[in-house]
Assembly symmetry: C2
Homo-oligomer: 359 residues x 2
């Protein structure tokens, strides 16, 4: 067996100790006589897993007591529809900031439920910068203000939580949750798919302030009604039990690494190294404004695009995989989430230098 460096934007690399533990426990979990895969979600074994999952996440993110933590299905994409259905309440408008492909998707679906106010957009700069917060149009009658904390395709990340001028702040943190410190209490709602920094695909975390819960529209399916799931500890119906368990293992690994502060330092180091290598080269280029470059997803284009294919082939031959950029922006993209070791980033940098030297 030889494990490669996997730069996939998600699902993505997992910490090897997590994989090893999952393997060792696959047939039997803690003398239970069964695999986690086989456990009733209402049984005493799984209760332990579920409780530890929530308390570890609360500890890592410092989630205040007046926030519910929900573990749902459907992905962040499903939340594009279920957020307005849950928290518009009697309002008819919501504000959205458009900073890239994922903001656009959220906006498109919100249109089905309310009038969307585009508070700001960086479309005219091809999503390479975040519009100055002071210039945002904030509608005081809007139910909330939505932003995408990190754009995986465009490689743009908010350097800090934006000021919302009193509006309830909602954030899609699918691709940077748990990678940096984050003031949960500045938000009304944070949501994230797990398949980047938290585990495998299949779980959607929703962290929502209690006062926003309980006034969903009438036709929302109960399994996506925050109030119903909160009342039932996200067990209104059978959850993806094994995925919860794996997310739990990733959280315990994060705690062992020293928690968010430690992993953030690690992520700063890794991303600085790679941006430095890109900026110092004449072959590679990252178009994103330095103030909002993503620590998670680093796109770069080659000065000569006929080199794209040879670059990808040679990278793969060197065990550096899934580097192809999204078709909408072309070029390359290195996703370096929490679980990507510094050694992987250094191997990529070495390879890039060698490729530049020989091409």
């Amino acid at each position: 067996m030889s494990r490669i460096y996997n730069f996939s934007a998600g699902p993505s690399v997992l910490p090897e100790p997590v994989l090893l533990q999952a393997r060792d426990e696959l047939l039997e979990w803690r003398n239970s006589g069964m695999s986690v895969l086989e456990m009733s979600h209402r049984g005493r074994h799984f209760s332990i897993i579920a409780e530890e999952l929530e308390s570890d996440l609360r500890g890592l993110l410092g989630i205040p007591k007046n926030y519910k933590v929900l573990f749902l299905q459907g992905g962040a994409t499903a939340q594009f529809s279920f957020i307005p259905q849950n928290i518009l309440h009697d309002k008819t408008r919501a504000c959205y900031v458009n900073t890239g492909a994922w903001s656009e998707k959220a906006i498109k679906e919100a249109h089905n439920y309310c009038e969307v106010v585009i508070s700001a957009s960086s479309e005219n700069t091809k999503f390479t910068r975040i519009p100055e917060v002071s210039s945002w149009v904030l509608d005081s009658e809007a139910a909330y203000l939505h932003y995408t904390a990190n754009e995986t395709i465009h490689g743009v990340e908010f350097p800090e939580v934006p000021s919302s001028n009193g509006l309830t702040l909602v954030s899609d943190m699918s691709s940077n949750i748990l990678s940096r410190s984050c003031d949960v209490s500045a938000h009304g709602l944070i949501y994230a798919g797990t398949q980047k920094n938290m585990g495998p695909a299949g779980v959607t975390v929703v962290i929502v302030r209690e006062d926003l819960v309980g006034k969903a529209n009438n036709t929302i399916p109960p399994v996506f009604d925050y109030a119903e799931q909160a009342k039932n500890n996200s067990l209104l119906n059978t959850p993806p039990t094994y995925n919860w368990y794996l997310v739990g293992l990733v959280l315990k690994w994060l705690i062992e690494q020293g928690g968010i502060e430690a992993i953030e330092r690690h992520n700063i180091t890794k991303s600085k190294l790679l941006y430095q290598a890109i900026d110092q080269s004449t072959l590679y280029h990252n178009p994103v404004d330095i103030s909002c470059r993503s620590r998670m997803n680093i796109p770069f284009i080659l000065a000569d695009e006929t080199l794209d294919k040879p670059f990808l082939a040679a990278a793969e031959a060197n065990g550096l995989c899934e580097l192809k950029g999204h078709r909408s922006v072309g070029g390359m993209r290195a996703s370096i989430y929490n679980a990507m070791p510094e050694a992987g980033v250094l191997a990529l940098i070495d390879f890039m230098a060698e490729f530049e030297r020989t091409h």
Copy 2:
């Protein structure tokens, strides 16, 4: 390690060869250098898994070409809402047969989207029989007729596909799919959670005839719109990739067992043995009419309910677990899905006889 016999109603026992293969492949799948847990859902490795999953399911169930096979999230419970939203089209009524707790849940949610015609109900017999099909009220203007093929709580199973008199037949087969032969073409739509006979929790299979797809209501989230997911091979957004893989392993195990015919014989044998043991005893009793007893979930009550606790404790001490009946019906329940070996059923029967002898 000692694995117990797990009679959980779901999530439930999985075939040991599947667990062993999952364990062996956990760190790396087929020389890919990565775990299935880490694979991009758009990558070439996962494409193989996804294609085999669909073609194996089509082969096992004999799904005709004019049916779409979708792999969704949210559980069968989410489909209680999304089925009417997808296939009511311009109709305003739907027929439902009420044969137990799961029918009731489906009916309750359907009320949010249409007028529900209760075609038949066995509530007055405490769900111990299925009303004669000839007595069902079938509204020719209804969009479809819904039935629950197997009721896990009440232990009632349709012995054959009911005649629908031309109405589009919709079936919740969550707890008996792949356990017996089934004429897919008699249905417009079949849906099932995977956590009983198909794998771990986290995937919802929807098998739907093409002509029903493409006229969902406007406000359905795209990830639950059958047309959107069919166009995208269920990859409109990131699916629970590892769960797809595990369902795929279970399907391959089923094929190795000889497919549906072989597993059905196996299920007939196991359930006959257990019903025989119950019927011959004076301590145990199953209240369900012999014509519609479930092969999957076998509830039984003890003549003296003060023996319930000692029974469960002694069973567990003998490695026979998760036998407690649902709180709504009390007593015991043995769920004996495909993956429960005959040895498990025989061990339960032996234990029951011994317990009866000594109490």
